[in-house]
């Protein structure tokens, strides 16, 4: 065990993967010598050489196009997109190419070894273009996996699993947690399962569902609710696609209530898919409408960031509304 923050856990996972398999390569803007603007790839070029850890020109569509080809060839690319907000120039390469490669070729070719890492989310005074949470844009795209860790331990285990998974994974890192705190992380190799939600806290009155940095928000809200005698079950979805509807449904059948929290705008956010599925699977169990506590349907503002965010008091109020429906 070692104390690591989330960034160090990511860096440690990359070292583990690159040491174990020489086909693993990591690249992106400023990823090489400099180690990335957040330093997630620090020292990798020193350790593994410029061939396996390198800067690319400033072109997200190029980075993912290149990574697609590299993966099809049999290498194991871990491509970094500097900010989640800048992943959209690569949207075509991801949605039309990465996601459909195996299907369109009847399984002859695939880019399953590809992992795309990108920091996402708000709370860092980043305004419109350094705060977005784009997971839902990709969640409508069959063929992709989407994974979001909530802490250093999860980050290392999920990233290792993502790199080795036989499907392309979009690995989204909650950047406001990068250096927020340290935790115990095993120094040895380990994986955490993709496609499986994680029960963070048991409870009986309502299920709170989220991912990434918002798990903390749910925990704070649950504490506030506990003061009112409300027992919250907290689930970290971890994988957005494919997602673990069974774990969520089982929880909701128990508690009778569901609240979903995410930073992205509400309309068309992934909470909508969860709500649509769970109202179907748990119709007779639901004692109140499924609540969504999300970002507003606006671009991400700067001065009003606090007001924008689906924080713990908003979550707590929604818990109360749901309980007293």
């Amino acid at each position: 065990m070692a104390k690591m923050n989330l960034l160090q856990a990511i860096n440690n996972a990359l070292i583990t993967a690159m040491t174990e398999n020489e086909k693993v390569m990591t690249f992106g803007e400023d990823v090489g010598h400099f180690g990335g603007v957040f330093r997630a790839t620090s020292h990798l070029q020193e350790k593994f050489g410029k061939g396996r850890c390198f800067n690319t020109p400033l072109t997200e569509q190029g980075i993912i196009g290149f990574a697609n080809g590299l993966a099809a060839q049999g290498s194991v690319p871990v491509a970094e997109i500097q900010f989640g907000d800048y992943i959209f120039p690569a949207f075509d390469q991801i949605v039309n190419e990465t996601a459909k490669w195996r299907y369109r070729s009847g399984g002859q070719f695939d880019v399953g070894s590809l992992t795309i890492r990108t920091p996402y989310g708000g709370g860092i005074a980043g305004g419109l273009y350094h705060s977005q949470s784009p997971e839902a844009f990709f969640a409508h795209c069959p063929g992709l996996k989407i994974v979001v860790p909530r802490d250093p331990y999860q980050a290392k285990g999920l990233l290792l699993a993502s790199i080795r998974d036989k499907d392309p994974v979009l690995f989204m890192e909650p950047k406001r947690l990068y250096r927020a705190s340290v935790a115990d992380v095993p120094e040895e190799d380990y994986e955490l399962p993709l496609g499986k939600a994680d029960l963070v806290q048991q409870g009986s009155d309502i299920t709170l569902l989220g991912w990434g940095a918002q798990i903390e928000v749910l925990q704070k809200a649950a504490e506030m609710a506990l003061n009112d005698g409300v027992s919250c079950e907290i689930i970290d979805l971890r994988s957005i696609l494919p997602w673990d509807a069974h774990t969520v449904a089982a929880s909701v059948m128990k508690t009778g209530r569901l609240l979903i929290n995410h930073e992205a705008p509400q309309t068309g956010g992934f909470a909508s898919e969860i709500a649509a599925t769970i109202q179907d699977k748990c119709f007779l169990y639901l004692e109140a409408p499924i609540a969504r506590v999300c970002g507003l349907d606006t671009p991400y503002p700067l001065a009003h960031e606090k007001e924008y965010m689906p924080d713990e008091t908003k979550t707590y109020e929604a818990i109360k509304r749901t309980l007293h429906y």
Binding site: K23, M25, G51, R52, F54, T56, P57, T59, Q61, G62, I64, G65, F66, A67, N68, G69, L70, A71, A72, Q73, G74, S75, P77, P89, D92, Q93, N96, E97, K100, W101, R102, Y103, R104, S105, G106, G107, Q108, F109, D110, G112, P142, G143, K145, D165, K166, D167, G195, P242, A245, H246
Partner: protein, 395 residues
């Protein structure tokens, strides 16, 4: 950490001097003239009789295939086709200069490269009839071929996407120590996509052993090349990326072969990209959905019909004493019969079982796709007549 001075090699000048397009003037390699005669003093590339004849036969075969499939589409037997008539040399003669381990990434009009590699008539037909013998499992429109065994990457419709992919593939080949390169075909239209820019620049900076092979055939559907770009073709862009560049007469099989041979040598030994621009003309309609009379004249087409690469190569082969007119006629006739026979057979082959509708989305079938497939199969059993191509086999 070395000190940098990105001005070090720059000359200075002291009056405003607009650099115009005119300073680039990239000549075009030609070895056979339009009559199939050797251009004066031309250096003939190293080419064996066997290869020269295989290039020739493949071009003839593709001409037949194209003609037959256009007819089949008119008869409603397939939904779509896209011919390479008149520009066969570009794909066939370039593929002939490659090694078997070289990966081919094609746009869609390079059936000649695939045939040269050994794709059979049945394989063409299975793909076009989307039947269960198609290795793509009938999922893509006709002409989206792909064959792992032949190192021919499955074609994808979005234009230009294969260009940065080719850079990445080639980088992987280099890192794996493979004695192989990637060749990436695309049209002058696709070269307008942002992916072209990304792919060439990355290949240059990251030293990827890849040949970018542009077929400049004058049109992107109805859009003539002068509405596609204002520079000196695609070749002039290579220089901007620091990519070694060759312009070649795309209707001259020997020139295409020689240029590709040389480009491959450079790519593999110097570990770097090479851009080839093949000047040719799309004699065919864009596809069976297109009618070119709306945007060009018969006169213009005729001018280009006179540059037919098949005729040109035949004349040269003949001058070498390698051409047997009678045998050729017979081969062409046989190809026609083979195509017709194969078509008849393959159009009757079933499409895949409905189970294949959900496979290959992921490596393993996830729970939600299992549920969706189960629901679908139950539904098909209830309404078998609505889904006649699969219902008979649903259990």
């Amino acid at each position: 950490m070395k000190d940098r001075n990105h001005l070090a090699q720059v000359k200075t000048i002291n009056r405003v001097n607009i650099i115009e397009n005119g300073i680039i003037d990239i000549p075009m390699l030609q070895i056979l003239d339009e009559n199939g005669a050797l251009v004066d003093e031309a250096t003939i590339p190293e080419i064996s009789k066997e290869v020269a004849l295989k290039i020739y036969d493949t071009m003839e075969y593709i001409r037949v295939l194209d003609d037959r499939m256009i007819a089949a589409q008119r008869q409603g037997r397939i939904s779509f086709y896209l011919a390479s008539t008149g520009e066969e040399a570009a794909a066939v003669a370039s593929a002939a200069a490659l090694g078997d381990d070289d990966l081919i990434m094609s746009q869609y009009r390079e059936q000649g490269a695939l045939a040269y590699r050994g794709y059979t008539t049945d394989q063409f037909m299975n793909q076009m009839f989307s039947n269960k013998a198609d290795p793509n499992k009938g999922r893509q429109m006709p002409i989206h071929y792909g064959d792992k065994a032949l190192n021919f990457m499955t074609i994808s419709s979005p234009l230009g996407t294969q260009i940065p992919q080719a850079s990445g593939y080639a980088y992987g080949q280099k890192m794996a120590g493979k004695d192989a390169i990637t060749i990436c075909y695309f049209g002058e239209g696709a070269a307008s996509e942002g992916d072209f820019h990304a792919g060439l620049n990355m290949a240059a900076v990251l030293n990827c052993p890849v040949i970018f092979f542009c077929r400049n055939n004058g049109y992107a559907i109805s859009t003539p090349s002068e509405e596609q770009f204002a520079g000196d073709g695609i070749a002039s862009r290579g220089l901007g990326y620091g990519v070694k560049t060759i312009r070649v007469d795309g209707n001259d099989p020997l020139a295409v072969y020689g240029a590709t041979q040389e480009a491959r040598k450079i790519a593999i030994t110097q570990k770097c990209p090479v851009l080839i621009e093949a000047m040719t003309y799309r004699l065919a309609a864009h596809s069976t959905s297109d009618d070119p009379t709306g945007y060009r004249s018969k006169d213009e087409e005729d001018k280009w019909r006179a540059k037919d690469p098949i005729v040109r190569l035949a004349k040269w082969l003949d001058s070498k004493g390698w051409f047997d007119e009678a045998k050729n006629k017979q081969k062409v006739e046989q190809a026609r019969l083979d195509v017709l026979a194969s078509m008849k057979k393959c159009e009757k082959t079933d499409i895949c079982d409905v189970d294949e509708i959900v496979t290959d989305v992921y490596h393993e079938l996830p729970w939600h796709l299992k549920e969706q497939l189960d629901g679908l199969k139950q539904h098909i059993k209830k309404y078998p007549e609505k889904y006649p191509k699969t219902s008979g086999r649903v259990k």
